[in-house]
């Protein structure tokens, strides 16, 4: 889980062009949207595609994204639960 959390932070920074951040600066449980990191609805859509591309995990709708994408940890937990077994 720790590795997944770290990898996710790296990927999020790259995908969302958060050039001024390092993975260490994103808390595992830090809220990603509104307050916290301050991401918005477009970022949510970017992350949904990221999950699909990197982890083959597909969210049904932008609304489902609101719960799943709350923090890096909730994303990691969702991936762990839903990632297709190879």
């Amino acid at each position: 889980m720790d590795k997944l959390i770290h990898d996710l932070k790296v990927q999020i920074i790259a995908q969302l062009n958060l050039q001024d951040l390092t993975p260490e600066e994103i808390g595992d449980d830090q809220p990603l949207f509104a307050e916290g990191l301050g991401l918005d609805s477009i970022d949510a859509l970017e992350l949904i595609v990221l999950l699909q591309q990197q982890y083959k995990v597909k969210l049904a709708s932008a609304e489902e994204g609101q719960t799943v994408l709350r923090s890096v940890r909730t994303i990691a937990e969702y991936i762990t639960r839903h990632q297709p077994q190879d």
Binding site: D40, S41, I42, L45, I48, V49, S61, A62
Partner: protein
Amino acid sequence: MHTSDIYVAGLGVISALGYDLKANRHALQSGESGIGAIKHLKTIHKDVFSVGEVKYSNADLEQASHLPPGTSRTALLSSIAAREAYTNAGLHPQTGLKIGFVSANSVGGMDKSEDFYSAFSNDHHKGKLRDVVGHECGYSTELVARQLGIHHYVSTISTACSSSANAIFHAARMIAAGYLDVAVAGGAESLTRFTLNGFNTLMILDPNPCKPLDENRKGLNLGEGAGYVVLASEYALSKLDTKVYCRLSGWHNVNDAFHQTASSPDGAGSYMAMQGALRKSGLRKEEIGYINLHGTSTQNNDLSEGTALIRLFGEALPKLSSTKAYTGHTLGASGGIEAVFSVMSVMDGYVYPNLRFETPMKDAPLHPVTSFDIDRSIRHVLSNSFGFGGNCSSLIFSAT
């Protein structure tokens, strides 16, 4: 010379509902939506999304518009509708009037550019140049202006989904200031992989026919087409053998300044646009007989627009509906196509049904008209067009 009243003296339209004004009128009256499966656009999403596609191939449109094979579909649609409006208003090159053409679109000749790019991206020497020569938004406008013999003032506006509403009232202001006597104004847009995929990334497309204003709406259907009105000063009318449809009595443009794509939840932009148009027209809100909403059927727009409407009109909402349930969301052309529908509403009392509506939105309950009606008491119609980038515009058409 400043003229005070701006008249509508001609109409032209092509959409998923049909080739011309007559076909569109017929479909609107009979409740026949133009939304269906993709037939002409080449895309992997062909069997996934419902769209409001114009039911003619490029070959058909080339023949009808007398434009050369390989011309962008946007230009083809623009040519057909603009010519209908031009002819409809009795315009011809020898009127001696200062005639302008103000057209709008959002992605110009992208339907051809994306084909060019497919070949070019692998090898920079590949790709047919004639596919990319018409890429610029203004290219289609100038092509059609030249066909119509209009050169006094030719302009193109691009503000996403409010584009052709802005084009219409920019033309009106040019007439009011004396730069022009007459203008053909509106917009055109064709379906492209670029816009279809672009909107898909925003997860706001409904695979099925859309349900504007409905609590269970899933998103929008893209559409294509072109719609133009001919605006004229009183002086110009005296020189033309044409009937007068109505007046363009009000307009306003604001920026929501909330987010790149989403509208503010309190509908600030929509509210200010409508209020400003009312102020310009000098009308009281009770005098609006029908509102043609922007009503794209997205979660965000309909809630935002609905909130603004309730804030502005309170309990006394006039008859309202979104005709995007008929045509789909025609992006840069939507303001123009819906202006044509709004003018018909003023002229003939048409009240269009909001097709497929079942359940009002919980958070902004609107009760649109659900069957086609004729109400001859309607004297003033408000038409909304709100776009990405926060561009919000409203127009008011009034009986003479």
